[in-house]
């Protein structure tokens, strides 16, 4: 295997190479460090390369493995985290100039769990400043500059987990951790052609993660396959006394698993009505593949509620509270994106009554969505109605008139899980993607569905033209 092949290998493949001592954790870490140095800046994907820490962790992993103490599939595997997760002694910038020199003296629970699994932190990855909470309106929204998708450097990597998406896609890390308040794992995964999993709210501890919206924020894996997402989720899920929203549930996943019966999947009505033609075509092709292992029910109406309005009210109110000091200090003017410099001043005006009414509506909407999802094993729709947005153009001007059903705000408002997988290419050689969403704690089923899809397709194995 060449270094390039190794860089794009799956976690399961890498684990097999490490366990059989065909590659050492130090050698593997060096391959990723070299690629991070070579491509990280070009992609706007990296904030800090943690070389010293990584090499020390890799040496320790190597020693343990040589001594016969193998911790499991993530032992010796290099990874990156979105730069909103606290890492002891290493800057955690939240992607924003005012926090550029912020250093915590503890590790986020997710980081600690990955260390305990023997994984190696090679980079803190770029992100949209403050996870997009101030209302950014174009790709230039991080102090590290716009994130670029490795498929076409003139286009955005998506946000707000921009660096996580680009780094996984370009083979700069074996996997990454992203966060989602409303779309921040699924969007960059779609725009970078990788597989992203948004877990159920409460399954993964957020201790040590920047808070944008306490009732919406979630952390999850961004990988090159659904199987890899299962492996990573298995390591980071579980109750944490330091995050009281976590539930007493474990998620176990060691062997690649496939659906055990013919599953029932709903195809959302109007899912591609306002989608780009290539997105529509790829979605239709994907449905043919899915019908080989699942029973599809077509034209299913998605529950009609003001999902976007409720989510944006909650993000504005909770985000303004979380960043109250920053807004009052006037330091929002140091943010990069033009709209982020003013957004906080309107967010702060959302009244308590508006917030409470949004939260009262949310309860009814969440119950309605849970009831809807309980009829199916999953629902399916394109992840995004378009391919990635061009850099330098405001989002609303990029593809006017496009749109899709509100699965992203709905899924986030209800806190239910979703997985997205690449399913082809559209305009300008940019990836398209489909998402499967299910009821709370149905991650295993969603991973099985995505595994079955990826067993029949090779979109997730395609590599971006960055090395050529």
């Amino acid at each position: 295997m060449s270094d390039k092949d190794i860089a794009f290998a799956s976690i399961r493949q890498l684990a097999s190479l490490i366990k059989s001592k065909k590659i050492s954790p130090v050698e593997l870490t060096k391959i990723y460090l070299e690629r991070l140095k070579k491509y990280g800046e070009k992609l706007g994907a990296v904030v800090t390369i943690t070389e010293e820490l990584a090499l020390n962790q890799a040496k320790r992993a190597e020693k343990e493995i040589m001594a016969g103490k193998y911790r499991g599939l993530l032992h010796g595997i290099p990874f990156g985290v979105k730069d909103l997760l606290a890492t002891k002694g290493i800057p955690t910038t939240w992607g924003a100039e005012p926090y550029r020199n912020q250093v915590f003296d503890y590790d986020a629970t997710v980081v600690k769990k990955l260390y305990n699994a023997g994984a190696i932190l090679v980079a803190k990855l770029a992100m949209v400043e403050l996870a997009g909470g101030m209302g950014y309106d174009d790709a230039d929204a991080s102090f590290t500059g716009p994130g670029r998708t490795p498929w076409n450097l003139n286009y955005w990597s998506g946000g707000s987990s921009s660096g996580s998406g680009a780094a996984v896609s370009a083979g700069l890390v074996a996997f990454a951790i992203g966060s989602e308040t409303s779309g921040s794992i699924l969007t960059p995964s779609a725009f970078c052609g990788i597989t992203g999993l948004r877990p159920t709210y409460g399954l993964v501890s957020r201790f040590g993660a920047m808070a944008l919206s306490w009732t919406l924020d979630k952390l999850g894996p961004m990988c090159r396959s659904a199987d890899d997402c299962g492996i990573v989720l298995s390591a980071i899920a579980g109750y944490d006394p330091k995050d009281e929203t976590t539930v007493q549930k474990e998620f176990k996943y060691t062997r690649k698993s496939l659906p055990q019966r013919k599953l029932k999947i709903a195809v959302i009505k109007g899912a591609t009505e306002k989608a780009q033609p290539e997105v529509r075509k790829n979605f239709e092709e994907s449905l043919k593949v899915i019908s080989e292992f699942a029973e599809l029910e077509y034209d299913v109406e998605f529950p009609d509620y003001p999902w976007g309005m409720v989510v944006s009210t909650i993000v504005d109110a909770e985000g303004a509270s979380a960043f109250y000091d920053l807004i009052l200090s006037g330091k929002v003017s140091e943010l990069r994106n033009k709209r982020d410099k003013v957004g906080g001043y309107s967010m702060i005006q959302v009244s308590a009554v508006e917030y409470l009414n949004a939260m009262r509506l949310r309860k009814k909407m969440r119950k309605a969505l849970e009831e809807f999802l309980s009829k199916y094993d999953a629902i399916v729709a394109p992840t995004r109605a378009t391919v990635s947005y061009p850099i330098g153009i405001d989002f609303d001007k990029a593809y006017p008139g496009s749109g899709g059903p509100p699965l992203i705000p709905a899924g986030n408002a209800a806190g239910v899980p979703a997985i997205c997988v690449p399913n082809g290419f559209g305009q300008n050689n940019l990836p398209t993607s489909i998402q499967f969403m299910g009821r709370s704690f149905s991650e295993k089923t969603l991973i099985q569905i995505a595994n079955a899809y990826q067993d029949r397709t090779d979109w997730h194995l395609r590599r971006p033209p960055i090395d050529s």
Partner: protein, 92 residues
Amino acid sequence: MKIKRRKFLQFAITLPALGYLTEGIEPQKQNETQSEEVEKLIELVNLRHKVKFTDEQLKMLKEEIESNIRRRERLLNLKLSNWDEPDFKFQV
């Protein structure tokens, strides 16, 4: 100019109520009321935060506030029953 806290509170406290007062007002007057509210809310930002906005920033702030007002009108018009509780629970 130093902001007198009491004056600020008197000014601010009237603002959230405007949304409820627009029901039954004819569209033209409603638009006038809304644009008056936008101006007052921008004034409030200036009064409270003393930020020197550029023209472009002021335009964006106006858009943001207008969009929030539209959202608020829609949100507060959605029917809820007296006993509908918010989606979180208080625990001791």
